[in-house]
């Protein structure tokens, strides 16, 4: 018989959000906050906990770009690539971040601290260019401003700047 190892975090989140279908996305969102991504095992465990198919969980998770199914760093940097930010120097900000973290777009640093991703309009067009680091927006970026922000994260984590 297959041994089922209890997934304490999934159980705890199901207790918090409920075990209905409408609890699924809040559970997945909290898992991403905790682990920075959804592992296959976590998705199977969520399916078991909510009594639905693992394919159903996978299908829902992969629909949403913020529900990562690949491992990400502790800090996920999402750089806005929509037109206003592009017009105001998004590429310069992107190359600055790539230089500082020594990663390319889509990659995670070897120490698993930072992932660098692109995203669509994040609603700061009047203060472009803008990025999100996890949930925190940073706007009106320049090369020097983004360098300073990243230095702070490298040194102190997400303590407010």
């Amino acid at each position: 018989m297959e041994m089922i190892i209890e997934n304490e975090l999934v159980k705890e989140l199901a207790n918090k959000h409920g075990r209905n279908r409408e609890s699924l996305i809040p559970i997945l969102q909290d898992l991403v906050v905790q682990n920075r991504f959804l592992s296959r095992q976590d998705m199977v465990d969520v399916a078991r906990e909510l009594d639905m198919s693992a394919a159903g969980v996978f299908g829902t998770a992969t629909f949403y770009s913020f529900l990562d199914t690949e491992p990400r760093g502790k800090y996920v940097i999402r750089i806005c690539k929509t037109i206003s930010c592009t017009m105001k120097g998004k590429n310069e900000i992107l190359s600055t971040i790539e230089e500082i973290l020594k990663v390319n777009l889509g990659e995670t640093t070897p120490d698993r601290k930072f992932s660098l991703l692109e995203t669509n309009c994040i609603g700061w067009c009047h203060k472009a260019p803008a990025i999100l680091i996890n949930d925190t927006p940073y706007t009106e970026l320049t090369r020097s401003k983004v360098t300073e922000i990243l230095r702070e994260y490298i040194k102190n984590g997400d303590r407010k700047i």
Binding site: N20, R21, E22, S23, L24, I25, P26, L28, Q29, G59, T60, F63, Y64, S65, F66, L67, K81, T82, I83, S84, T86, M87, T119, N120, C121, I122, G123, W124, C125, H126, K127, A128, L132, D135, T136, P137
Partner: protein, 394 residues
């Protein structure tokens, strides 16, 4: 209320209005609304001619009345805060500054239709708003208890899917599924969230509903034009020295708008974001911003002569190719083919005549796509290709 940064900035060519960010006592407004019958609330809204401020422009009063007429004992009020249209950022500011008015608007809708439960669907990109919003929600629920009103609101977060701003996709997402739009009809007024009659309104629409209850329909109607009553919050970005959020009276022309917000070198204005229309300089004077001309959910992007309209179009098509939910073929394949198509014309792999084929494809998408996303890709595509053909080809 003037947003801090823009204090003292002179506005000459357009009329500034102060309804959305005006600080008001929501308690006083609720007391007034509680004396009205559901029918009176709907009637007041109908008389105001308020149309939805999310972009589609359906008359708000009708939406509420249709839902009120449904017999189902369970109904919902949903606030659409999944602001994702490129160039739109006003709902974030409204929620940051006057969230209590949004909640009050939801309570008003709840009284009009007889709902006990409401949801705010907030885009994941605005998660940082949650702590402050929760504080306001706690106060709101206390007020509900105090007034003996049985209405509760929950916040649900999106997770980075533009399509969830489409109302039926939004319902699917709250229900815990992929955000894929449903077939219509049935409309939300009869079968919305969890299959129940639902009023779903944009953040800004809810606040206008509150202000109409406060000042009366007649006051609201004094502003704007026959087809576009009242005012609207605009999100202004791109090549402008005055980027920001402005509440303006409806009915201005693009010309007046550009005189106010342009940098002296404006060649085009994209009205309504990626799903909206591109207005070139030669059409500034004849084009009215509103339901009689080009409608907008608030997104206004200015482009000056240094910008390549090919890059603008490419950016939009890239956006749609990523954000199409993939459910229906015209939109899924159409977005990708439009993107590939303009790339091959630019490279010279295809002749300029191929653009006519692509315009036809965009028209087919308008007719055959299931929801507003696929139906509106042709707006930007058609208007940019038609007016800036040489920039797409060379």
């Amino acid at each position: 209320m003037v947003i801090e940064k823009y204090k003292g900035m002179s506005i000459k060519h357009v009329k500034r209005v102060d309804l959305i960010f005006e600080k008001v006592s929501c308690r006083d407004i609720l007391v007034k609304i509680m004396k009205m019958t559901p029918d009176e609330i709907c009637q007041e809204l109908l008389e105001s001619d308020l149309k939805g401020r999310g972009g589609a422009g359906f008359p708000t009063g009708l939406k509420w009345r249709y839902t009120a007429q449904e017999k189902d004992p369970v109904k919902y009020v949903v606030c659409n805060a999944d602001e994702g249209e490129p160039g739109t950022f006003k709902d974030r500011e409204i929620l940051e500054q006057v969230a209590e008015k949004v909640l009050c608007g939801m309570a008003t809708a709840a009284m009009a239709i007889g709902a006990k439960m409401g949801y705010i669907y907030l885009r994941g990109e605005y998660k940082f708003l949650i702590p402050k919003l929760n504080e306001k929600l706690m106060q709101f629920h206390q007020t509900m208890d105090e007034f003996n009103l049985n209405f509760r609101i929950q916040v649900r977060l999106g997770s980075g899917a533009y399509i969830c701003g489409e109302e039926s996709a939004l319902f699917e997402s709250i229900e815990g599924k992929r955000g894929e739009p449903r077939n219509k009809p049935p409309y939300p007024t009869t079968s919305g969230l969890f299959g129940k009659p639902t009023v779903i309104n944009n953040v800004e629409t809810l606040v206008y509903s509150v202000m109409i209850m406060k000042y009366g329909a007649a006051h609201f109607k004094e502003l704007g034009t026959k087809d576009s009553r009242g005012s609207k919050v605009f999100s202004i970005s791109g090549d402008t020295p005055k980027a920001g959020i402005y509440e303006l009276e409806l009915g201005m022309s693009v010309f007046e708008f550009v005189q106010e917000f342009g940098d002296g070198d404006t060649k085009a204005v994209q009205v309504g974001g990626a799903s909206g229309f591109c207005v070139p300089r030669k059409k500034f004077e004849e084009t009215i911003i509103g339901f009689e001309g080009v409608p907008t959910g608030g997104s206004m992007k200015l482009f000056n002569s240094t910008r390549s309209m090919y890059n603008v179009l490419h950016n939009y098509l890239d956006f749609f190719s990523e954000e199409s939910c993939g459910q229906c073929t015209p939109c899924r394949v159409g977005c990708q083919q439009l993107l590939k198509g303009v790339e091959s014309v630019k490279r010279g792999d295809k002749t300029s005549r191929y653009l006519d084929e692509l315009v036809k494809l965009a028209k087919t998408m308008k007719r055959a796509s299931k929801c507003g996303l696929g139906q509106s890709v042709g707006n930007a595509f058609g208007s940019i290709v038609e007016n800036f053909k040489e920039e797409i080809i060379y």
